[in-house]
C-alpha cells in the first residue's frame, strides 16, 4: 500500500520540538538516551530501515544475497549516495563503522547490535561481505545500526571527545547546522539526501530541538504555539491537549515499564523473604495515582506484549503477610521499626533526578514503607552520580527507574545471570536455561510460551517490584501534515512530514 506522497514544496518551514535535555554527545557510537537516538535518526542512515509496515527495506543497501548456509551475506550498496560534506558513500565507511562498534577500547554503547557479525570486508567500493556468528534467517532486520563516515571512525579507539561530535556528518535527511547558544540545536534539510524508493525531497526545511526542562511547561508551550511537537506528553496534560483542536495526539507505543529494583548482592535484600515483605507493603495503585494513568504490571513486560503472562497474579498488598515474612526472616518489630540482631532495617532508595515524576513516586514509596516500620532514606542522583553509584559501584539498596525496549523486548541483558544490564545481580540458573531455550527455538509459539514462563519465574524470583507502564503519547500541532510516528525512533519517516 504505497502512500501517495503529495509533492511537498520545500518552502522555509520550521518544526520546533521540545526535549527534556539537549543531547551531550551527538555520536551514534555513544548513544545512551532516547534523545540521542532521535537525533541520530535525523542525521544518519543504516543499511536497512523500516517501511510504514515496519518491515525491513533497503536504505543505504541496494540489495543483499544470503549464502546457502545463511552464514555469509554480500550486500551491494547504492552508488548515488553522498555524505553531507559531499564525499561519496563507499563500502569502507560500512566496514570501519562496524569495526569501531566492535572495538573494545572505544566501548561503544551500541556494541551489542553488531555482536551477530563475526567479520566483514569490502569487496570493491560498493559491496560488503559479512560473515555471521550463527546462521541468520533475515539478517536485513539486524543491519539497522547507523553508518558513520570513514573519517570519523578510522583511528581506533574512537574517543567521545573527538571533534566529530561538534560537526557530525551523516547521509540522513537533515544535517546539524548549528549548536545555538540558547542550548537548542538547529538541523537543516540535506539537499543531497537520497530516500527509500525514490522519496528524496525533505518536507520540512528546518528542525529545531529546544531544551525545556519542565514537562508541564512543554505542554503549555505547545498551546502557546511556541513549540510544534512534543515527544512525550505527561498523562496529566492529555485532557488539556485533547480538547484543543490545534493539537493532535499520537499514541506512542513504547514498551517501557517502571520498576523498583532490589540489590541482591548485599543485605537486607539478599533474602527473598525480605524482598517479598517489602513488595507486599507497597500499595502500587496509590503510588501511580499522583502521576497519571497507566496499567499495573506483574512482570518484566508491558501488558500488550505477546510475552506478557496474564495468568500471573500480582503480589497482594498485605501488611500482615509482610510482618509474618519479616518475622520469618529473623526481624522483630520494635517500637520504632524492625530490628534483626540489634540492627534496624533501614534502606536507601535511589532515583534518577531527570526521570519525570520520580520525586512524587519516591516520596509516596517512602511514606508507605515508613508507615509500616521500614526506615527509608531517599537519594536523588543526577546523571553522573547515577552512573557512578548505581551502575559502576552497585552502591544502592533499592533503585526506582524505568526501562524502555524496542519492539522485540529482549530482556535477556537485564535478567540473564551474566547480562550486561543485570542491575539487580539476579543469578537463577533455571531462568538462564529458559532464556537459552527461547533463543535457540525458531518456533514462535514455543518462544512465546517460554518467555511467558520467564515472566512467571522473574515474578517469583522478585529481583524487582514491577510497577506499571504509563500511557505515552506524542503531541503534534495540526500544522504538521502527513505525520506518521515511528514507535521507537520517532523521526524515521519525518522526511515525508510537511508544515502548512
Amino acid at each position: 500500500m504505497s502512500v501517495a506522497l503529495a509533492a511537498g514544496t520545500a518552502g522555509a518551514s520550521q518544526l520546533r520540538y521540545a526535549e527534556d535535555q539537549t543531547p551531550a554527545i551527538v555520536n551514534p557510537l555513544f548513544t545512551s538516551s532516547m534523545t540521542e537516538t532521535r537525533v541520530a535518526e535525523l542525521l544518519f542512515q543504516s543499511l536497512y530501515t523500516d517501511d510504514h509496515t515496519l518491515a525491513a527495506v533497503p536504505q543505504l543497501a541496494e540489495s543483499g544475497e544470503l549464502s546457502a548456509d545463511r552464514q555469509h551475506m554480500t550486500v551491494r550498496l547504492r552508488e548515488d549516495i553522498t555524505w553531507q560534506d559531499g564525499s561519496p558513500f563507499t563500502a569502507r565507511d560500512v566496514v570501519l563503522t562496524v569495526k569501531a562498534m566492535k572495538d573494545p577500547a572505544t566501548a561503544s554503547t551500541e556494541a551489542a547490535r553488531v555482536s551477530f557479525i563475526a567479520d566483514l570486508r569490502e569487496s570493491g567500493t560498493s559491496a560488503v561481505e559479512f560473515d555471521f556468528v550463527r546462521p541468520e534467517l533475515r539478517p536485513e532486520d539486524k543491519l539497522t545500526f547507523k553508518i558513520l563516515p570513514a573519517a570519523a571512525v578510522q583511528t581506533l579507539p574512537v574517543k567521545r571527545t573527538s571533534p566529530f561530535r561538534l560537526n557530525p556528518i551523516g547521509t540522513g535527511p537533515w544535517s546539524l547546522s548549528k549548536f545555538n547558544d540558547d542550548n537548542s540545536i538547529s538541523f537543516a534539510a540535506n539537499p543531497g539526501y537520497k530516500g527509500v524508493d525514490g522519496k528524496d525531497d525533505v518536507g520540512i526545511s528546518q528542525i529545531v530541538l529546544k531544551e525545556v526542562a519542565d514537562k508541564n511547561y512543554q505542554a503549555k508551550l505547545l498551546l502557546y504555539e511556541s513549540v510544534d511537537a512534543l515527544v512525550r506528553v505527561l498523562p496529566r496534560d492529555l485532557a488539556m491537549l485533547q480538547s484543543n483542536r490545534k493539537v493532535e495526539l499520537y499514541p506512542y507505543q513504547t514498551n517501557s515499564w517502571w520498576y523498583g529494583g532490589f540489590n541482591l548482592q548485599r543485605a537486607p535484600f539478599d533474602d527473598p523473604k525480605v524482598r517479598q515483605a517489602v513488595s507486599q507493603m507497597l500499595d502500587v495503585p496509590d503510588m501511580l495515582a499522583p502521576i497519571g494513568t497507566g496499567e499495573l504490571i506483574t512482570g518484566p513486560y508491558v501488558p500488550s506484549s505477546p510475552y506478557y503472562n496474564h495468568a500471573t497474579k500480582p503480589w497482594p498488598h498485605d501488611a500482615a503477610g509482610a510482618s509474618t515474612l519479616l518475622n520469618a526472616a529473623g526481624y522483630q518489630r520494635g517500637s520504632d521499626g524492625w530490628y534483626k540482631a540489634g540492627k534496624k532495617l533501614s534502606i536507601t532508595v535511589s532515583a534518577h533526578r531527570s526521570l519525570e515524576s520520580a520525586q512524587e513516586v519516591t516520596i509516596n514509596l517512602q511514606s508507605q514503607l515508613q508507615a509500616q516500620g521500614v526506615e527509608v532514606a531517599i537519594n536523588f542522583l543526577d546523571d553522573p552520580q547515577w552512573r557512578q553509584q548505581v551502575w559502576r559501584d552497585r552502591n544502592f539498596d533499592f533503585v526506582l527507574s524505568q526501562w524502555t525496549f524496542d519492539r522485540n523486548e529482549d530482556i535477556r541483558e537485564q535478567f540473564y545471570s551474566t547480562g550486561s544490564r543485570n542491575l539487580t545481580g539476579l543469578k537463577d540458573a533455571e531462568l538462564d536455561k529458559l532464556f537459552d531455550t527461547a533463543r535457540s527455538t525458531a518456533d514462535p509459539v514455543v518462544r512465546k510460551a517460554t518467555f511467558r514462563q520467564v515472566h512467571q519465574r522473574v515474578h517469583d524470583d522478585m529481583p524487582m517490584v514491577f510497577l506499571w507502564t504509563l500511557d505515552s503519547y506524542a503531541a503534534l500541532s495540526t500544522r504538521v501534515k502527513n505525520v506518521t510516528v515511528h514507535p521507537f525512533a520517532f523521526f524515521t519517516w519525518a522526511n515525508e512530514w510537511q508544515m502548512q
Binding site: A107, K159, D182, Y224, E225, S226, P384, R387, Q388
Partner: protein
Amino acid sequence: MGERVADAVSTAAERTATRRASWLTPVAGGALAWVGAVLLVQVLVALAPGDAVDTLPDPALRAQLALDWGLGRPVWERILTGTVHGITGAWGSSWTVQPGADVAGMVGAAVVKSAPVLLGAWTLAVVVGLVARGRTALQAATAASALPVLLLTLGLTQGTNAAVWYGMQRGWWPRPSFFALPTEPGWVRDAVVIAALGIGSGALGEVAARFAAADAALSEAGFVLAARARSGSDPAHTSSAVRQLLWRHRVVPLLEASHAVFSPLVGGLVIVERLCARPGAGDLLWRAVAVRDVPVATGVVVALAGCTAAISVAVELARRAWDPRLRHPA
C-alpha cells in the same frame, strides 16, 4: 559640645602608606586580589573531600584526565600548578560540557554574552538608586529589593505570558514576536532579566541606602553649610550652586556603590540566566556543575573573579582621578 585640637601628626606609619598614591597601587591591589581568588578556588577544589573526576562514567576519559591533571601529585603541587594555569589562562579543556573544547574560549564567549545583562542591571540599580531621593521612593526601593530574584523572575515571565495570551485569546493584539518567555530570545526577555537581576539581587536597595547615607553626611559638611548659607539669601541662586556641589560629591559614593553591588549582581546572574534560559556565564557554570565539569566550573569562577577585581581597580582609579585627597596626599 567639646572642641578638640586636631592632632596634626597622625601615626607615622599610616602617613607613609598614603604617600604612594600613584596609579600603581590600585592596579597592583586588584591583581593581587585576583591571584588570591584563583589560589583560593584551587585550594577549595583541591582540599574539599572526594575528587570530581571519579564521578565520570567513562573509564577511558577518567584515566586520560587523571593523567592530564596529574591528580596523583601531592595536594600543594596541584594547587600551585592549578593557580599558575589559572593565572596564565591555560585553563585546560572541558571534561563533559563540550568534551575537548578549550575552556578559555568557552568562558570568554559566555562572559561576553552575560556582559550586557550585568551592565544593564548595574545601570538600573544606580539610576533608580540616584533618583530615589525622597523618603517614600527610598522605602519603595528597599522594599522592592527584598523580593528575591527567584520570585521576581518567575512573576515577570509567567505574568507576561499569561497577560499576552489573555489578550491574544480576545484578539486585542496579534501574536508578539517575543511571546512565550523565556524560550523566545529578544529584547523583552533581556529586559525581564535585567529588571529581575537589578532589583532582585538587592543591588538597588544597597545603592539607595549608600546614597542616602552619603547625602546625610554631606548635609552636615562645613562647605555645604557654607554654600547653603551663601545661597540662602539669594533664592534664584539656591538650587543650582548647591545642587552642582552635591552632584560633584555624589560621584565618590556612586563609584563605591558600583563596586559593592557588582558581586551580588554576578551572584544573581546564575539564577536569572537559568530561570530565563538565557545563555551566559551563569548558565555555563550551572551546566558545568550539573555534569561535574571541574575545569569549566573553576574557569567561570576565576573569570568572574577577574571581572570583579577589574571593576574594583577601575573604581579605585576613578576615585583617585576624582578625589584630589587621594591623588596628592598631604
